[in-house]
Structure formats: C-alpha cells, structure tokens
C-alpha cells in the first residue's frame, strides 16, 4: 500500500497520565514533565544512551526561559546528549505537528529515528508583567546613569505591578475558546443531550481502555499518578445534566456547554517514537502503524465568518480527496474533543450538504461517521487536554489500537487555536 518513499513507521509512545490543573502536577514544570515522559519512552524501548535522529516538541504555554524546551529535556533525559532537538508550535495541534514533521523527515531520509513530543502545564504557567512595567524595566536596562535610572524608575505606578495571568482567550478577539465554540454550537444547533452523551462515551471508553491495561505500555506513572485524573468512569448523562452551563450564557440560544462536556485545564506530556523501517528492524521494534498523510487547514474566525474550531471540517475533505478515500475506508475516527460540541459540529458539517457544497466545494455531503468508530479509547473530554500533549496521546494510542485490533485505518483530527486544524491518516503497519 505504501509508496517506496514511505519509510517512517510509528513504533510506540509514552505519556504521563494527565492530571487536572493545579493538582498533582501543580509544581511540575513543562521541562520536568517532558523529561520524565521522554525517559519513560527511552526505558520502554531500551534507548538509554542512544542517539536519536531528532526530537521535536513544544508547549503552548511556554516560559521564555524554555526557548529550547525540547533540547533541554533531551539533555536531562537518558538519551545520548548528542541527540538534537527542536521546538515547534501549532497551538493544540503542536503534538501532532511534531509527529508529522519528524515523519516527513524520516520519509525524506533526513533522519532515521525521531521522538515527537509535546507538553503543557496550565499550573506552572508563565505569568507576564504588565506591558507598562515591562517597558519601564526594558528602559531601565537601557539607561546609563543613575539619574536616568532614577527618572525612569519614578514612572513606576503601583498599578503596573499587577501581573497578567495567561489567558486562553484568542489574542485577536479576547474571547475564550469556550465562548467561541458556544457561538458555533448554537449555529449548528448542537443539543445539550448530544454533548453530554458524547462526554459520557468518552469517559466510558477511556476507563475501559485503562481497565483493560491498554495504556500499560503507553503511559508511565508520574509523581504518584498512574491514571488520568480527570477520568470519571461513573459519569452518566443524568449526572452531567445537573451541571450549569459555563459558556454561551450571553447568546440568544440556550447555553449548553458545561464543565462536563468541555475539557478541563490539564497538565501532562506525551511522546511518540518514530523510525524508518530499517531502523526499527535493526532495533527489533515492531512497527505499529504509519502516518500516511496529513492536512492542515485554517479558517477566518476573526470577525466571526467561521467558527474558531471549525478548521478540521475543511481539512478532512481535502485530506480524503487527496488520498482517494471516503469515511467508509476508515475503521477509527480520533477526533480531539476540545468540547463535545466541537466534535459534533464537525460531524454535523460533514453531514451537511449545504456546508460541504458551499464552504468546501464538494458536490454533496461528505458523509456520516459511524459513532461506534468514534474515539474508541475516549478522548480529551475524559483524558483531559494538556494542549501540546494531545497529538502524541492520540497518535500513539490509535497506532497501538490499529495493531492490537487488526484494524486498518484511522482518521485523526485536532482543532487548534487561531482557527487552525490538523488532520492525519494513520494506517496499520
């Protein structure tokens, strides 16, 4: 099936269990979590002291001191210190883009092996000083004489000292992702019931996978946490129905998005091991799957022309067309649950002839996804969503899922801030 140039295979992965913000990992830095995650992967594959072709990674919420986050993690890990690394970012698609970029580098023969990673802490998040204060401090560093310094320092006002907490708001709109999605949710008429049902399925599927030991060789316990702490195996549509809406309360449509059908802020890290077929064979590693193709899309959400998180709805039709595939050709659909309604909006868009004709330029609706094939291992609603770590979680899980179930093809879709989306096709090796 694969072209001769398709040399890269997905060999496995490792992540730390995801923890809700400000809980067990409250004091763990991005560097701490990423290093431990890479170390877990190294241990699983016996790569201590090995030189890996390249390690890619990133974090969405990143301290300026972490400008070389991934390389620093490599240096702190059991990998050979001569392993190069680079940081990259595509908001919530960072983890998947880290996989795609290494996959492509292996396919071109540039490298033989790679570790794609991602991490995010919403607990140990960077706090930024007020812009006025920052300007004054920068001016102070430029001042030469004490008199100049004193003059500049005298401009400091008490109000300047208040730090600015990081915001999940879109820089150009100031709206939180939830508020943006609430507009989309209302536009597509996604019901509260449908969202809660999706959330329950996510928790149920994730819990079942944990109970079956599915994640035993995909995770490594960290700081005493051995399962995703956001997971609630016992959540039901009834229990979720009791929660009050948190987003979209100012819209004319009824607010439907609650803490139960939205992902919580989460801390965590993930990694994926990739290699050329030859490299895998030399090391005695069994390929799980291969990433066949990927497609990114972006929408203009700034003035509300399209929903912030709708880009995957555009990327997937293009990805399928390029590969000559339809939904029927897929056994698994891994659609990142930023919010339950995000997934449901995408499904609705693909089922909508109007959307597919007018916005995507297809002749007809793209199709319907069999819900039994959707997120069979649970997704971000249950596992949580440490932004840059989600891509690695999904790729490693779905690769193993294909291998262990004998299924053939998985569609991966991740929406991201800035109106972006990254999608990929993963096939059993």
């Amino acid at each position: 099936m694969s072209a001769p140039s398709q040399r890269a295979v997905i060999l496995g992965g490792n992540r730390i269990p995801f923890a809700r913000s400000n809980k067990q990992y409250a004091k763990a830095t991005n560097l701490d979590m990423l290093t431990s995650t890479i170390d877990g992967l190294v241990a699983r594959f016996g790569l201590a002291g090995e030189n890996i072709g390249e390690v890619s990674g990133g974090a969405v919420l990143k301290h300026s001191k972490d400008f070389n986050l991934t390389r620093e993690a490599v240096l702190g890990s059991a990998l050979s210190p001569t392993t190069p690394a680079f940081d990259l970012g595509q908001a919530c698609a960072t983890g998947l883009e880290a996989v795609v970029s290494l996959n492509n580098k292996i396919n071109t023969g540039q490298i033989e092996s790679g570790i794609a990673s991602g991490v995010d802490s919403t607990s140990d998040a960077p706090i930024v000083i007020n812009d006025s204060m920052r300007e004054i401090l920068l001016e102070l560093t430029r001042a030469k004489t004490m008199v100049q310094k004193a003059k500049i320092a005298s401009q400091i006002r008490p109000a300047y000292l208040a730090p600015q907490a990081p915001s999940t708001g879109e820089p150009r709109t100031g709206l939180s992702m939830g508020e943006h999605q609430a507009i989309t949710t209302a536009a597509w008429g996604i019901t509260r019931q449908a969202q809660d049902e999706l959330a329950v399925a996510s928790h149920r599927n994730l819990a079942a996978a944990w109970d079956a030991g599915f994640f035993d060789d995909l995770t490594t316990a960290y700081l005493g946490v051995s399962r995703d702490t956001n997971m609630r195996a016992d959540s039901t549509v009834e229990s979720l129905a009791k929660l009050s809406p948190v987003f979209g309360k100012k819209l004319s449509a009824a607010a439907t998005m609650t803490a139960g059908n939205s992902t919580p802020l989460t801390d965590g890290a993930s990694s994926v091991l990739l290699g050329s077929e030859d490299w895998a064979a030399e090391h005695g590693f069994t390929p799980l799957a291969r990433l066949v193709d990927a497609e990114a899309a972006a929408v203009d959400f700034v003035d509300g022309a399209e929903g912030l998180l709708m880009a995957p709805a555009y990327a997937v039709p293009r990805l399928l067309a390029r590969n000559g595939l339809t939904f029927d050709d897929f056994d698994v659909f891994e659609i990142h649950e930023a919010f339950a309604s995000t997934v449901l909006s995408h499904l609705a868009a693909w089922e909508s002839e109007e959307f597919c004709r007018e916005k995507v330029g297809l002749d007809a609706a793209l199709g319907t996804i069999d819900r039994d094939k959707l997120n069979p291992l649970g997704s971000s609603l249950a596992a949580g969503h440490p932004f840059a770590a989600t891509g690695g979680r999904i790729i490693a899980s779905t690769a193993k899922y294909l291998k262990t179930t004998g299924k053939k093809r998985s569609l991966v879709s991740i929406c991201a801030a800035g109106g972006q989306g990254l999608t990929a096709i993963v096939e059993a090796a």
Binding site: S132, D300, D303, G304
Partner: protein, 284 residues
Amino acid sequence: MMADSMLPVYARALLKALPVGPRTGPELPDHAIDRSIPLEPVAYAGFAHVVGHALDDIVHPGYLHILGFPLSMQLLADPEVPLPMMGMVHIHNRVDMHSRARLGEVVDFHLELDGPFEHTKGTTIEIRLEAKVDGRPVMEEVSTYLAKGRKLSGAESKAQVPHVEFTAPQPSAVWRLDPIIGQRYAKVSGDYNPIHLNGLAAKGFGFPRQIAHGMYSASRAFSAMDPRLESYRWDVSFAKPILLPGTVGYALTEGRRHEAAQSAVFDLKTGKPHVLSQVAHLGR
C-alpha cells in the same frame, strides 16, 4: 516623544476655566499652528502596541492625530477662544487619508480652528488638521469638540451627524480594559487629561470612574478593522464613554476586515454603543 509639552496647555486651560478675564464675541481667534514632526519608530511602536496594531512602516492615522493633538489643544486653550477647553467632549472625528505616511518621513502639520457651530447639546468647535509630507497630502482631519450646554449667540449653524439607531450585534471580540490602559495610552499619546487617569478627577467631570480615551478605542477599532486601502475616509462617532475597568464588545457591523467596513464598540450588557466607526473608500 511629544513635540510640545501638554502641561502648560492644561495650565492655561485651567486658568481659562476661571470666571475672570475678558470674554469676547463668538469669533474664534484667527490663529494657525504649523509644525514639522518626524515619524520616529520607537515612539510610534509604543503607540502601535497599545492600540493593537501591527508594527510596520505605515503609520496608523490615529498616531497622526495624536501628533497633532498637543497643537490642537494649544489652539483650544487660547484665551481668545470663547469656550472653556476643560470639559469639552470629543464627539466626532473624521479622517481623510489621501496617502500613506511612513516611518522616517517628516510630517508638516497645519492646524486651525473652525466654528463655533450650533449643536443641539451646546456648541461645537472643529479642529482642522492637514498633514503633508514634502508637499504630498497625507491626511485631513476634522475633530469635533462639544462644549456641552454652552450656547453662543452667533454660532454658525451646521448639519449634525445624524443619530443612528443602534442594535448591538454578536460580539466577535471582547476587550477587557484595565484602568492601566488610561495610563498606557496617555504615555504614548501625551494626552494626560486626568479624567483618563484618575477616578477622582473623572468624578469631578461627572463620570463615575475614569474613562478610556476616545481616540484609544477608536484607534483600536481601526486596528481591528485593519483596512488595507490606499486612501480612505475614517469616520468615528463617540457615543457613551467607556468606564474603566470595563469589558466591551467589538464587532464588524458591515463589510469585511481589510476592506471598507463599519464596526462598533459597545456595552455588552446594555448593548449601547461606545464608538461607531466607518472606513470607506475616499472620493467614490
């Protein structure tokens, strides 16, 4: 990096507010101010960042406005102006942008007063600003200031900007404005009017809290509309002032980003407008 310090101007304005001295007729003094000001990147960058505009070498029209602002205040503070400067409200601003002003260029400003004009709520004075670079027309601006409740006999009659019914749209963006925005804009614009800096001062002028600079909100809305036109008319009407701290909504009400369009900055709770802007092609 202001060409002229504002402090003496405010001092004169305060003096003028005192009920002493000669009061002449409705005529405005026949003064004009001419000044050449270079467009310096460091000072401009501070402005661009505060109003959320990308920093490139094409200067935001709001910046040309603030370069002219101290000069316009000097004109208004002239004792021969028959209206008190303190308490005047900027109600409308119209900019005709004929060509782009770029960093590194030296802008020749010419400012003069026009009016007084009759207004249903008092009397208005207009400040007319012309900006040229090497003789090339760059910008013409008319800033309309209202002296509320003041009626001057002999003021010219003039058609007012018609009042438009406004229905708040779904906000496409939300601005969370901290009080410090008053200080930040003051720092980059040189407009240290105390009603933007200090709650007590604002109370003195009848506002419950300090208020955002009108041209801050207008310039930020302009940044969001981000018109990419060679020449255009930028028309701004100031409705209710924005109290700080405050959270306001923003949305395009017509047209699209980068093109001719209209936008509104409005109160999220009441739906009442703060700043209504229009960018239109010039001379069509």
